[in-house]
């Protein structure tokens, strides 16, 4: 409960930082817009720029702009995107949702892969299987995600004749949600999921292996063995449970990593997730759109950390009692 109460002022501080960071580069949206128009051969006079600034509220001092924005956010109004000429909520809604679905499924994929392999590698240390997984793991760590994305896309198209770009087949892109659309999403989801998850899984395997190796030779494992438990029960009940601790705390750092890591891959794979839009918004100083994205991501991170803390406390009584 105390952690929950502590989150609110923290997120508030984050929102100030985010806003300040967006305003930090010289110039504003209007200037960028004018520059873009000028590049296209049109001229924009100062009066027009001034009127645009007034319309968007950009002539106000920064704290008033911030106040306008944050007081809207509290009631669910994230402002208006200059670039897209749409309310930010409309833009963000589905993209944020899809980003979340992708992140969550990637996290699950990462765990599903890393946990059994990590355990296997630790228990059968220096076996052939361990060496093979170790090798694959290091390759996974070393190869950048977008490269693997390109390779997988190529393989997907040439071998499986699959439709690999985006998260939906063309007929479903703008369709309303339906069962068929969900199925279509699932069909497309696996490629980015594998690509995004591989790097994380590779490092988690190493973490799991190291943690478990530390635990395997702890005296309490001998105690349990001396009780007459079978090797498997023993393993699951004692060292793996304790080795899970750092595993769970990864949620905190995996979540933001997924969102930021997915920017490049989303561009390569043409995914309708938050990453590419955020990049554009930042480049064009579309302040409310960028601010909303960043704020949501920070909130997600804080929530992720909180969830992992709660899980940790459930797993480990020592943390609960402190």
């Amino acid at each position: 409960m105390r952690r929950l109460a502590g989150m609110i002022p923290f997120i508030f501080l984050v929102s100030i930082t985010v806003f300040a960071l967006i305003k930090l580069p010289p110039g504003d949206f209007v200037q960028n817009y004018a520059a873009a128009l000028a590049a296209a051969g049109e001229t924009v006079d100062d009066a027009m720029m001034a009127s645009m600034r007034q319309r968007y509220g950009l002539d106000q001092p920064i704290w008033i702009q911030y106040w306008d924005w944050i007081s809207g956010v509290v009631v669910g109004d994230f402002g208006y995107s200059f670039q897209w000429q749409q309310p930010v909520v409309n833009l963000i809604g589905e993209r944020m949702g899809l980003t979340f679905v992708l992140s969550a499924s990637t996290l699950l994929f990462t765990w599903a892969v890393a946990l059994p392999i990590g355990v296997y590698s630790a228990v059968r240390r220096y076996s052939i299987g361990d060496y093979i997984f170790t090798f694959i793991g290091f390759v996974g760590l070393a190869v950048p995600g977008f490269l693997m994305g390109l390779v997988l896309m190529y393989v997907g198209v040439s071998v499986f004749h699959a439709d690999v770009g985006g998260l939906f087949s063309p007929p479903f892109v703008d369709a309303p949600w339906s069962w068929a659309r969900v199925v279509d999403l699932a069909k497309h989801l696996w490629i980015p999921m594998v690509i995004l998850g591989t790097g994380g899984a590779a490092s988690l395997i190493r973490i799991m292996r190291a943690n478990l190796l530390d635990q395997l030779h702890q005296p309490y494992v001998d105690t349990a063995r001396a009780k007459g438990l079978s090797e498997f029960t023993l393993l699951v009940r004692y060292p793996i449970r304790i080795a899970l601790n750092p595993f769970v705390s990864t949620i905190g750092w995996v979540l933001p990593n997924l969102v930021s890591g997915s920017v490049i891959i989303s561009i390569v794979l043409n995914l309708p997730t938050a990453g590419p839009v955020l990049l554009q918004a930042l480049l064009g100083q579309d302040q409310y759109l960028a601010g909303a994205f960043l704020l949501l991501m920070c909130t997600l991170t804080v929530i992720g950390t909180l969830v992992s803390d709660i899980l940790l406390a459930l797993l480990d009584p020592r943390i609960r009692f402190q």
Binding site: R2, H217, Q218, P219, Y220, D222, T223, A224, R225, A226, K227, G228, L229, S230, E231, T233, R237, Y238, R241, I242, L315, D316, P317, R318, F321
Partner: protein, 563 residues
């Protein structure tokens, strides 16, 4: 009572292939265990006594393997004997024996219990695993067992976690766990080594009581001859993986045959309580150190939502003097504040009150409590500290010469050739070869490392050495050697010592005066002879009574439990 052996170990050999060589951890060991009797295995660390015990349960760590011999287990005289050594270690038949027939208690009660499972479940688990009870019945049995091992309010304790228990309570819980399935053989691997003497006495009494109740065959592993004298029926002395002597306890103590046994017994007697006091009081000259009302209080931990925890008084108003050339022993149980005093004196900790007046070599007197960092520097040249663990207190990436020379170099006193020369002198002084300076600490044994640590402490020509449990990590024979080394150096170098230890025998042997600490206060201080022979305070008397006497004819420790 001549009973059939329940466990008959014949020519057991457990080897560890390491690279191309093979470490013969256990080599041709034979013994028998009988119901109601206790066999003690004694030996120094690395002698193979733990591996012997683990071989019986086949829980030797990899790459260790039983390569020969028989472990015949016969649960009752009419039954067919099972050769445990032939069973596959991971097989169901081996598992069925573990915990149900043969149970084991381990050394470290802190780490041998899982930190994240409730005590009750850890006790009940064995019952459930062997199909002897369902969860509910097993839980009821766990409560009953906790009551049997004398844990207060077992109904509540059953739902506690190990970290909420003290060391002694955890070891009781371990014993309860071992007894859960009514085993016939109990193996105890140094179960009291990590405990205070008073707790050790309680645990030994408890094991004895439970043994008498259930007719257990007990295999007790220890390095403490005092404990052996108190509880053993038979003794097996191991050295480098082999048995050097095997005899009934009375015979062994009265007429030891093997020179190694003689050495062990001599060391135990030297550091035992029966010997006459070794160090008379020194004539009181001017004190080097005057400690007055030294107080160390850890502040209350304020918390926003919970009631604040009360402040912890680690040291409460301690006063004593230390005279030139004197050895003052500070003895007490864990948590009594003795280590905190040492840390306050050398100002690793900032005391919260009192004064520590130290007379420097040049005659000036400084109050160590008030000095700032710059003021402490000259003091730290004269007061040095020796820590408990010779493995952890030497940087493994520095050569011995670098380790010893570091204080000289840091203080800008010597460098280059002169430094090497000084290090060689110091090495010779502590009884190590002069040319071993270029080697790394891992090349040395525990006793040698502690000599290196002492050489480092001597590097700056100190006047006062604070030794915090400096011999506790060492085997008993090495302990005597290190103490003798310090005593031999003392008159040559004009040293005074503050020797902090929980081991009364060591303190008694080494110190002129003893201060007994209890809950942050000095309850009694006086000449070593007076404290040991004529203790005045009840706490001191209790502490002395708990020290196991290395004489099987005087079994005071577990006497009340004996039939």
């Amino acid at each position: 009572m001549p009973t059939e052996p329940i466990l008959d170990v014949r020519n057991l050999r457990t080897w560890f292939p390491v690279g191309r060589e093979t470490v013969k951890a256990v080599d041709d060991v034979s013994f028998t265990l009988a119901p109601g009797r206790t066999l003690c295995i004694v030996g120094e660390s690395g002698s193979g006594k733990s591996i012997t015990a683990r071989s019986i349960l086949q829980i030797v760590g990899t790459p260790g393997r039983i390569v020969g011999g028989e472990i015949l287990y016969r649960p009752d005289p009419s039954a067919q004997a099972v050769d445990i050594a032939k069973l596959p270690p991971r097989g169901a038949r081996m598992r069925a024996l573990r915990g149900r027939d043969i149970a084991m208690i381990f050394q470290e009660p802190m780490t041998s219990l899982s930190p994240i499972h409730k005590i009750g479940w850890q006790i009940a688990e064995g019952l459930v695993a062997h199909g002897l009870a369902d969860r509910r019945a097993a839980r009821a049995r766990a409560v009953e067992l906790l009551r049997q091992v004398e844990i207060p309010s077992p109904e509540i304790a059953v739902d506690r976690f190990p970290f909420e228990f003290s060391g002694g309570m955890r070891q009781r819980a371990m014993i309860a766990m071992a007894l859960a399935c009514h085993p016939k053989v109990l193996i105890a691997d140094e179960p009291t080594t990590a405990l205070d003497v008073t707790t050790q006495a309680e645990i030994l009494r408890l094991i004895k009581k439970l043994q008498d109740e259930a007719g257990l065959a007990v295999l007790f592993i220890t390095h403490d001859m005092g404990v052996v004298a108190q509880i053993a029926d038979d003794v097996l002395v191991m050295y480098h993986g082999a048995v050097v002597e095997h005899a009934p306890v009375q015979t062994l103590f009265a007429r030891p045959e093997h020179p190694y046994t003689v050495k062990l017994l001599d060391a135990a007697k030297k550091l035992g309580m029966a010997a006459p006091p070794a160090r008379p009081s020194v004539p009181a000259g001017a004190p080097v150190l005057e400690v007055r009302d030294l107080t160390m209080t850890y502040p209350a931990q304020a918390s926003l939502f919970r009631p604040p925890k009360p402040p912890t008084h680690a040291v409460r108003g301690v006063s004593f003097d230390l005279y030139e050339g004197e050895n003052l022993g500070i003895v007490g149980e864990s948590g009594s504040g003795k280590t905190t005093i040492g840390s306050c004196l050398i100002r690793i900790l900032q005391p919260t009150g009192g004064s520590v007046r130290y007379r420097m070599r040049d005659g000036a007197t400084r109050d160590l409590v008030q000095l700032d960092r710059d003021g402490l520097r000259p003091v730290h040249r004269e007061i040095r500290m020796v820590f408990q663990d010779p493995f952890a207190s030497l940087n493994p990436r520095m050569t011995v010469e670098q380790c010893i020379g570091e204080p000289l170099l840091v203080n800008g006193l010597l460098s280059g050739k002169a430094l090497s020369q000084r290090v060689r002198e110091l090495l010779v002084r502590v009884g190590l070869p002069a040319d071993c300076g270029s080697r790394y600490p891992h090349a040395f044994s525990g006793g040698q490392r502690q000599r290196i640590v002492i050489a480092r402490a001597l590097a700056l020509d100190p006047r006062l050495i604070i030794a915090d449990e400096a011999t506790s990590a060492l085997d008993v024979t090495l302990r005597g050697q290190i103490l003798d080394l310090l005593l031999e150096l003392q008159p040559k170098l004009g040293l005074s010592f503050i020797f902090i230890s929980h081991d009364l025998g060591v303190i008694r042997y080494f110190c002129n005066r003893i201060a007994v600490m209890h809950r942050g206060e000095i309850v009694e201080i006086g000449a070593a002879d007076d404290i040991c022979a004529r203790p005045q305070m009840p706490y001191t008397q209790r502490l002395l009574a708990a020290v196991p006497e290395a004489d099987p004819a005087h079994r005071s420790l577990v006497a009340e439990a004996a039939p």
